[in-house]
């Protein structure tokens, strides 16, 4: 297959074809603005990346703890999250390709307990699937597995790398600390990309990022509606939107599609579940990315909807104040510390993690919670006892299981389906009936 007139490596062809197929599918369905928006965005991202490669433009890698606005402040520089291929493969491509990358990394000596998305990123580099970066800008969040990946990728590529140290807490002192590091990152980025950073351009990027944020906040509000107007799986995709598209007009277009779809469906009185929703749950920790149809199954078989999850939640913190260079750097730091899903909840004390969950359960009127414990998230699994206690105290039934969000071999889909179906039957339904 030719992408932008050139033959690309097979893994990329698979995801490109997958995205194209889904665009065709959703195009026929006027009810799928949101899905159509994000899948279209994925393909455009690939187009942009391939174009940058073909034009020899600089490429900067970053990780999922890093919102890319600062890098976009340099004209003509292409951003590339190290998780890109895995996310695309799981969401729109073929998960077997991800599995192969995971195996490649493990065979090369990366410990099995490292997160599968991080292993797959190492696998992608080992298989020479990623374009060489001019430099890499990483954040030490959301977890240690990212640190492992960052270290492996730096050793494998031997390219310049700069770490933004994201501290434990996220108060004003921490915001200033991170903002100061962003300022120091600018000359690093300029030196290694050969491009100038422009404050004016950065301002436009931040304004774009704010526009996206506003749509996402509206969208978060709209999804509180009962019945939930839109399909569950959309919430799982929001983090991919933020990591890949923050500061890009395509991000705003996707967020607007999410918002518009929810708004229009509410106006038409539509529910995401045919026959009407029976149960609502907050899905917490990590979504099931290797089988988005799983969400359809929950809706059709169990009449269960996920109005919100951790990846979809856009915390209502301040927008980036674009009045001065300092206010922009601080605004971006605040976003990285307090808003970006995962970074917000997974770092710092466990209260960050638990409080958001309880808030979501209450705001979205959840009948129960699903703690989908991605096996690599030791920060989450290490807090499970306290999490359970907090759920019990709040009177919210909690289903807990462990699985791998990128690797279907760890817990088969049937087992997760059984867990949820039984939990509803044994716990949630009797409780609702008694209420």
């Amino acid at each position: 297959m030719s992408i932008l007139g050139k033959e690309r490596k097979e893994d990329w062809e698979v995801v490109y074809e997958g995205a194209t197929g889904l665009i065709d599918l959703y195009k026929e369905d006027p009810e799928s603005k949101g899905m159509n928006g994000i899948v279209r965005g994925f393909r455009l991202f690939m187009d942009g990346l391939f174009q940058a490669i073909d034009e020899g433009r600089p490429i900067v890698w970053h990780n999922c703890g890093c919102s890319p606005e600062l890098i976009r402040g340099l004209e003509g520089v292409q951003t590339m999250p190290i998780e890109l291929l895995t996310v695309l493969q799981d969401l729109v491509g073929e998960v077997d390709y991800t599995v192969a990358l995971i195996d490649e990394a493990e065979a090369h000596g990366v410990a099995p307990e490292v997160c599968s998305i991080d292993k797959a990123a190492v696998g992608a580099v080992l298989k020479d699937l990623y374009p060489d970066p001019d430099c890499m800008l990483y954040h030490n969040t959301p977890c240690d597995s990212q640190i492992a990946a960052i270290k492996c990728l730096t050793a494998l590529t031997n390219k310049p790398m700069l770490l933004m140290d994201v501290p434990y807490l996220s108060g004003d002192r921490e915001v200033k600390y991170l903002a100061k590091q962003f300022r120091e990152a600018i000359p690093f980025l300029e030196e290694h990309t050969g491009r100038k950073f422009s404050w004016e351009r950065f301002r436009e990027v931040c304004e774009e990022s704010n526009r996206t944020a506003e749509y996402l906040r509206d969208w978060n509000e709209l999804r509180r509606h009962k019945p939930c107007p839109q399909v569950s799986k959309l919430v799982a995709l929001n983090t991919a939107l933020l990591v890949a598209f923050s500061g890009d007009h395509e991000g705003t277009a996707i967020a607007k599609a999410f918002r518009d779809e929810a708004k229009e469906r509410i106006e038409r009185g539509e529910s995401s579940v045919e026959g009407g929703e029976l149960y609502r749950a907050v899905w917490y920790q990590d979504p099931l990315w290797w089988d988005l149809q799983f969400y359809d199954w929950m809706e059709s078989e169990l009449r269960l909807v996920i109005p919100m999850d951790l990846f979809g939640y856009y915390a209502p913190e301040a927008l980036i104040d674009t009045s001065t260079p300092e206010s922009m750097l601080e605004g971006l730091a605040r976003k990285d510390l307090r808003v970006l899903p995962m970074s917000r909840q997974f770092k710092g004390p466990v209260d960050n993690f638990i409080d958001d969950y309880l808030r979501l359960c209450s705001d979205y009127q959840a009948d129960f919670g699903i703690f989908a414990g991605h096996v690599a998230c030791k920060h989450g699994l290490g807090g499970i006892g306290l999490f359970r206690e907090a759920s019990r105290e709040a009177g919210i039934p909690l289903l807990y299981f462990e699985f791998d969000m990128f690797d279907p071999r760890v817990t088969p889909v049937e087992s997760i389906q059984d867990d949820i179906a039984h939990f509803i039957e044994d716990v949630v339904r009797p409780r609702k009936e008694a209420a």
Partner: protein
Amino acid sequence: MGKSEVLKTFQEVIEGPRNVYLDEWVRAGGKVMGYYCSYIPEEIFTAAGFLPYRIRGAGSEDSSDGDAYMSARVCTFVRHTISLALRGEFDFLDGVVLLQNCDHIRRAGDLFVKKVKLPFYSMLSVPRAPKERLFDWYLSELKRLKAEIEAHFGLTITDQKLEEAITLHNATRERIQRLYEMRKKDAPPITGEEALTVTIAAHLMPRDQFNASMDNLLADLENARVGDSYRARVIIIGGELDNPEYIAGIEQQGALSVAEVVCFGQRSFGELIPSGADDPLERIARHKFFQVPCARMVECFDDQVSVLKTTVREFSADGIIFQRMKFCDPWAGDGHNLYWRMKEEGIPFLGLEREYLVPSSGQVKTRVQAFLEQMGK
């Protein structure tokens, strides 16, 4: 006291959470501050008049109390230590200081706050790259810790007290350095199992008493030799390792450990903190922040490698044994990188995975034997 008596004393010190020196200290009304990691300066606690006590899981029969709060995918070091804490076996502590050195310890911190509830708790945010641009933040965290201790306990940590603490801890460093110097000999006077016992004990008892015992030990070691019957010399590297029995298992196969570049080993001591007219807290901070970096640190892999190469050379080691706790992500990245870098450098390298408190398994022994064969030993 000769070598065997001193080592016997140290063995008793490291057996479980409590030891006679600690009990004596507590009986005399002394305060004890627990801490987890090499990036937390003990000097601050000493200057506050506390006994610094580095938390371990020794003496934990099982990790069931920790398991009730943490998934089995959390490393067993953390689950054992938190089990002891939840059972009240660290009740002699007046407080605990942690840092976000890894995701597992962070969650241990939450349990200390919400369940163990010692009178004092502080969590430091230590930057994850030992770079000058981040040093001010680290120093400000230490200042915050100092102020918190002063406020909570109603005391003042003067510069004079900090200087005295530097002197006391430097005296330990100097003794550990002498011990390690002796291990460079053709026939070292002490095994790795014994040396790790010594360095662990330093973390658990009053330093003046430790230093005095070390003087006896060092005097006796002048003429000792244990290294004749070994097939190879290795250095043992990695993170958490406070189980001398584990090293014993390796040494029984014929691989003598001549240096342990691990937490609780040489990495916790390093060079002396220089004297000078400038702020003692800043000198302490520099020493800790720029110590031989651990795997939680980024942008410093070449420094780590260069330390290892120097250690291999100076201690005439034939190879490196890297040990990592299962589920430990920080050391997973380094495990991968070290394997390939050591291959490039031509330094024989064996990577092992372990669980806390478990002596070397049969599999470890077989792998060590194979490693020796591979090195032609």
